[in-house]
Amino acid sequence: MLRSGACARSACSRSLHEERTKDLEFFFQYLVAGITYGTIYAIVAIGFNIIYNATGIINFAQGEFVMLGGMTAVTLHRFMPLPAAILGAVVLTTIVGAIIEIAFIRWLRRPSVLRMIVITIALSILIRETALHIWGESVRSLPYFTGSSMTSFQWGGVYVSPQILWVIGIGVFVVAALGAFFNLTMLGRQMRACSANRDAARLCGINAGNMVTLSFMISAAIGALGGCIICPITYVQYDSGTPLAIKGFTVAILGGLGNSTAAVGAGMILGILESFSIWVLPAAYKEVIAISILLLILFVRPSGIFGSAEAARLKDF
């Protein structure tokens, strides 16, 4: 999945007596790749967590937000400069998130967990099929934010593409911004109050329904942003969403459902494990790694590495 330019492999042409350094460099290349993908998985997982915290729902369509962000940005980029295209993509996907919540979720009265699962799966299918009919099966990508697929700079002997710095940098920014939002702003506190105790929040005058819509919008926005920043490195296609949803869900569970701080660490773990799995398994089985980890966690410790037994008990809608 990594395009060859992302991590320039000029290290291949080293001579024999530098083989040990070559191995070390490969190690760091894989590490960097793992961190990069881990950041995206963490962003998807945080999106899961935000909606889960607000509603108790697992939104299976989370991966589609990422796909939509990338695809929309590619289309917009044909008419406007890159920063505007990204902003537009984020805004449009946020609107899609709001529409989904308002049209399909808001008016449901105490639905069962099974019903919600199937509804969000069906929604993800519909979004995917719509994307297929809009954009076809072709694979798209955005240009690199700075430089091109060929540029890279050296960092301790490892060739790192500036796009990777963008990914990590924006990932850090998203996590910090969300932290500030939820802890320092009144609106963020309202959302946390709704998660903690929905009825009590309503008794404080907070419109719980709007908080749910807001949670969908925020999740859609960060998903779309994630899609845009990873797009130059990987291709985006109408069906890129589902594998991301699975991996994002794995990360969310790994860190403890609802725990966004842990999701960052868990994302790194999955990204790095997946990246190094190449040493033992052929690349075609990469997704199997993520799913195996998911199944392992679900069977052994559903509360995740950092979660408590309480978190494992699913919340009510």
Partner: protein
Amino acid sequence: MVRRYSAVFAFALFLVAIQLATLFAGAGYYLTQLTMTAYYSLLTIGLCMLIGYAGQISLGHAGFFAIGGYVSAFLTTCDLTPHKGSALVSLLSKSGVLVFRPGLYGGTLLTVHPWPACVVAILLTVVIAYLVGGPVLKLRGHYLAMATLGFGIIILRIVLGTESLGAADGISDVPGFPLFPGLAISGDSSLRVSNYYMAWGLVILGMVFLLNLVHSRVGRALAAVHGAEDAASAVGIPTARYKLHTFVLSAVFASLAGVLLTHYNGGIGPSEASVMKSVRYVAIVAAGGMANLWGALMMSLVLNYLSLRGYFGTFDDAVFGIILLLIMLFAPDGLLRRHILADLGRMFSRNAAGEEGS
């Protein structure tokens, strides 16, 4: 009891009527898709048992279909001629397990006979279903759904990524499944009518079996498990065991469908293991009314047939997604329930004030 079997009898008559209709219309080729529909329906009614009666969702049942299909396809196409000399191979071929048959490009292949291949496929399915089902069925809600989805994707990735399983192209040149002299499950157009009746005959057998199961002590126990699992277990029903057995049973139905359809089609591809197929099966069960075997069968007949005829065009997957969405939004107990109109009315007359506690 007479009532139950009268429905089966009526359905059998209906099937005969269809076949005769195609005969008179000179449109015997419709029978091909109808036969394929029958095998998909076999999977569907098994899944209905699991979702509707045992209350366990499975988003990975296409995986079991694929296990059945791919194992039998692989065994009946993998040429063992290079190993002709080994003792094991010559023993198996003398006992009839291995047979010689003409290959696609001329020459002869030494492959496993479809019957033992089928047995191996089903056994493997049973083993996997027990191994996977044990831990998976301990999960609830989201986790159960995700785990079954994950299982399905693992199967998909394995068949997609493995060269000897044909990778993206799948396995073709799968021979027919011989039953009696002159009767075989195969796509041969001369055997079209007999295949039609064999396929649907199997479905009817399956229906009778499941209907008996539902009305037996086991079936009532399952209903109790579905309705209120903790209460059921407090009464002494071994809920975990029953759920597991139902899971394995539905897996066997799916796997058998996979085996036979592969022999009928003469091949199988990775799309049979896709997530979309699993979702499709769940959609059909939901549309039929979750705990409604006849509903699932009818819906499978209609929807699978239309899909196979290509009526949905490029919107094939989208259609099933929409069906699933609409049903889950408006009629989560399935379409073929009587109270649906009353439920709709109640839903829209609720105002935005407080909620009714429950």
